[in-house]
Symmetry: C2
Subunit: 247 residues, 2 copies
């Protein structure tokens, strides 16, 4: 049995973290049996990972380890893995008879896609922060803000875009998503990046859409974003629903 470590949130039985969603999509798509353990966005992340022998994913400037979710622990191989891309590679390798997250020969291209997708957004990702703060457990907000500020080297809440700057970032965000739409236009008409079959890149986009969908429920501009690009994202979001089971 695989244990999947995801962030607890105010949304009942559900997280709204773009990165852990990539792993939930992966596990569901492969139809692997697993159970979720909900971890608070606090020192709890490091404690759980260390306890399970899950390695850190990066280092702070001072050389100390940073532990992050998503992470999994696979009982059957006694292996702990963190980072959604590494988890996907582990699952494809360990369970070769399940549907592939990286169809033949595409792991490197999908890794480049991940980089391309994330960097397209630049500092527009700051627009997501208010949405994220709303779904975090109130007691986790302080840790989240401190962790992100440390990574940025400046206080997160001071650099959230407002006024004209916010307008500019919205334009950037829409333009970035339209560029991703242009990539998808080369998929031969299927809803997924490789056509009719999902692959990890779709789950990267799906992780982002999970926030957009959550925000779109009551914020018109997010709803508009979701409905842009000729319905590409709304349709993709719907297609991904069958892999959204929370267990």
């Amino acid at each position: 049995m695989i244990t999947f470590y995801d962030f607890a949130s105010t949304v009942p039985g559900k997280t709204v973290n773009p990165n852990t969603w990539k792993t939930r999509y992966s596990l569901n798509y492969k139809q692997l049996p697993y159970k979720t353990e909900w971890v608070e966005y606090t020192e709890e992340i490091e404690r759980v990972c260390k306890k399970m022998g899950i390695p850190p994913t990066t280092k702070r400037p001072d050389g100390s380890d940073v532990y992050t979710l998503p992470a999994i622990y696979d009982d059957s191989t006694k292996t702990g893995v963190a980072d959604s891309l590494l988890i996907a590679a582990y699952l494809d390798k360990t369970y070769p008879d399940t549907p592939k997250l990286f169809p033949d020969g595409t792991e490197a291209l999908q890794t480049a896609f991940n980089d391309a997708f994330m960097s397209k957004f630049g500092s527009s990702w700051l627009l997501l922060v208010p949405v994220i703060l709303k779904v975090l457990l109130p007691s986790n907000v302080d840790f989240f803000v401190r962790a992100r500020s440390a990574a940025l080297g400046k206080p997160l809440l001071d650099i959230l875009p407002v006024g004209e700057e916010r307008e500019v970032q919205w334009k950037n965000l829409k333009a970035a998503l339209s560029t991703v739409d242009m990539w998808y236009q080369k998929n031969g008409g299927g809803p997924f990046i490789m056509g009719d079959t999902p692959s990890f890149a779709d789950f990267i986009v799906g992780g982002f859409l999970s926030i957009v969908k959550a925000a779109g429920h009551n914020i018109p501009e997010w709803k508009e974003l979701l409905e842009g690009d000729n319905g590409r994202w709304k349709k993709l979001g719907e297609e991904l629903e069958k892999y959204e089971r929370v267990v």
Copy 2:
């Protein structure tokens, strides 16, 4: 018979343009019969494209059309295509029995790779300008500088990095290439991005390497770049040589 429009240069029988190389690699890899027509980097580009009914690839801020190479004209279908990605898609579609530039389902991922690769370099591409100026026909330099300056909205020669700024850009360039190396590390050990078989993404990298190789002949820092990343680029460059025939 396909006519391939490439830039004339001071290198005998050879161009050193990263974009037209992508198309030469494509044509050679597919083993399609073609002949090269050498076009000067001047108003000649627009004249040739218009004459052959090859569409423009972009627009200037004032709304006027911009014509670019690479371009092809295919006699057998009476079709003109410009832009290396569009040419690759055209060739895969028109000649389905030749090796695929976009193996099944990967056209969108490869398009994202193109974007990821190009944007990784940021303004470090300015380091390539002195190398490019050297291989351009002397009579074409003025047009090249004017065209690039117009696209940039500032005088190209005034913004070439020097001194400390140049050091920074070199670091950026090396870091960018190392990121691309990290993507390639996910290719299962083959020299190409999808493993043992080349695809269009490798020809994108190959186009860039063509400049690095040309510069590396007599500039040590370029030679060093080519030999970095544990020999990844030197090896890839060698593997690509079999698709470098100039006809």
